[in-house]
Amino acid sequence: MSGRDGSVDGVFGDGSGEVSGGDEEFEVRLSTTFGRAAEGLGVAAAARLVDGGLEAGRRRRRRRRTVMLVGALTLAVAVGASALTLPSGLPGRASGALEAASSGAPAPLERGVTILLIGLEATTDAQNRPAPAELRRGELHAGAADVDVADTLVLVHIPAGGGTARQLSIPRDVLVDAPGGGAKVAIRQVYAQAEAAETTRSQGQGVSGAELRWRGREAGRAALIRSVQELAGVPVDHFAEVTMTGFYRAAQAVGTVPVCLNHAVDDELSGASLPAGRSELGPAQALAFVRQRHGVGDGSDLQRTRRAQAFLAGVLQKLRAGGVMADAGKLRALYDALKEDLVVDKGWNPVDFVRQVPAFAQGRAATSELPVQSEGAVLTAEPGKAKEILAGEGTSAAPAVNEVPCVD
């Protein structure tokens, strides 16, 4: 208690804008105190904060893309499941890259199947058309590159008998042997390098247009699969490649998605304005929901990942509820969206696909990132670690997501 009890009491109940002289004096003094008490920040400390901020931002961006990738695969499963009613089998285009990369593959893991997911940031789609304008302008495509960059790489191991799927993200800057020999390169560059080499070669043979694009990408896929197999010491049984454009188109085709919030949000920064409880998100709100950062839990990556998982759970429920599957028009739109931007290996038959993918698409997957050693900016993988993680030695499962969970 201060010595001036009377004026302390006078402060309570204020709000009329009427301030006594003593209070005003205290406010001025408080401002002065803040100014004098503020601690300076050394150059080294400031640099640490800037570096930490950059690192946090890059990590955040990567995380978001991984989530989109798994989302696109989820859509693909649903379409694959109903593909039995359609003449063409699996959605997407069939690639022979896996066969091309299979010579000299490491010995397989005990039981189960290993799938490589490739999230490709591409300037054009498989038909050689540029990405939609909304995408190029918007956040999804914030880091658009001039060449095809394998932006997200995830290995998924699904054990035989339906145990916990294990998901391993490969940092895109980890060093591997260059496809054509020579100095080591970051793994994200492997695809583009092999693609460029093949494009030059095919052009010499008079190939052009979409066919040229396809041949280049097939070479990119094969080289990338080889690099991943070598890095992880695990053979890749199947792979799926999706472009960010593909995810975007697929999300458009699904229509609204149900989510559930613990608290109402009104965040002018991201444009998210939703009531507490269950609501249906249109495409624009869906993006805001997944993007919102401020006031979401403790602001950590984990919280944002929960938002994204909740969104995926909503997508799944939407698909199961029959809204999309029963609607031939929507189904066809979804199928077409994926046909252009999803590529799967041609050995993956629809029945296996439908059996294998849901386990991890539903969130029943333990996720981790490949441990790396860094010397300055150079990242190298720890040998043997990937195999250990995928085989499930010493890791625990993440909780399953079965319906629309309510999130902060």
């Binding site: 208690m1 201060s2 010595g3 001036r4 004026s7 302390v8 402060v11 309570f12 204020d14 709000g15 209070d23 205290f26 406010e27 003094r29 408080l30 401002s31 002065t32 105190t33 803040f34 100014g35 004098r36 008490a37 503020a38 601690e39 300076g40 920040l41 400390a45 400031a46 640099a47 640490r48 904060l49 800037v50 930490g52 901020g53 950059l54 690192e55 946090a56 931002g57 890059r58 990590r59 955040r60 961006r61 190029r136 302008r137 956040e139 495509h141 914030a142 880091g143 658009a144 590159a145 001039d146 920064l269 444009g271 950062r293 401020h294 006031g295 839990g297 403790d298 602001g299 950590s300």
Partner: protein, 179 residues
């Protein structure tokens, strides 16, 4: 969005911004956390990380959600990150009087200790309001927008917090400031 060169230029701009603002953000975070230097650093890094992912929005047309005032935007992000951090961690709260090391043994160190010690006794939202009003010099309306509350609520909160601060360090403050 464009070429590798454009991206590098944009990243350079971001680094320049982060370098220029990190000191101010850190000082605000230090007060917000009631003198927890580690948490303050985490909050600033997180805020800069969010700014990094939003940086391209500086180039957008205004109807598409352009960020006009990155410094103000960063301040809002920081305060909200702090408040939501606190909401989640409230069970683990320790109203501590144990303050982290203060590097410079200057004259104002005593003043700083007294101030953050008193701030640490305030509930988180009250503290945020006081820091925004008396350190950041934000108006009642601006403060209300940042903490997502009504102006009236901010006024009430503010006077309650002032009374508490005054009872905590009223006499001390006069003495320390006068010195």
């Amino acid at each position: 969005m464009g070429t590798a060169r454009q991206r590098a230029a944009s990243e350079e701009e971001f680094v320049a911004f982060a370098t220029a603002r990190s000191g101010q953000l850190y000082r605000s975070a230090y007060f917000l956390t009631g003198g927890d230097a580690h948490l303050a650093e985490d909050l600033v890094q997180d805020t800069l990380g969010q700014m990094y992912t939003q940086w391209h929005r500086l180039q957008r047309p205004s109807w598409a959600g352009r960020i006009d005032n990155p410094a103000g935007y960063a301040r809002t992000v920081l305060v909200r990150a702090y408040l939501s951090h606190h909401r989640r961690r409230s069970s683990a709260e320790r109203p501590s009087q144990v303050l982290p090391e203060v590097p410079a043994p200057e004259q104002d160190a005593a003043l700083r200790l007294a101030l953050v010690g008193a701030l640490a006794q305030l509930p988180p939202r009250d503290r945020a309001v006081v820091v925004l009003r008396y350190w950041e010099d934000r108006s009642v309306e601006e403060t209300a927008a940042i903490v997502k509350d009504s102006s009236a609520a901010v006024r009430t909160r503010c006077s309650r917090a002032l009374a508490r601060l005054r009872s905590l360090l009223g006499a001390d403050l006069a003495e320390l400031v006068a010195r």
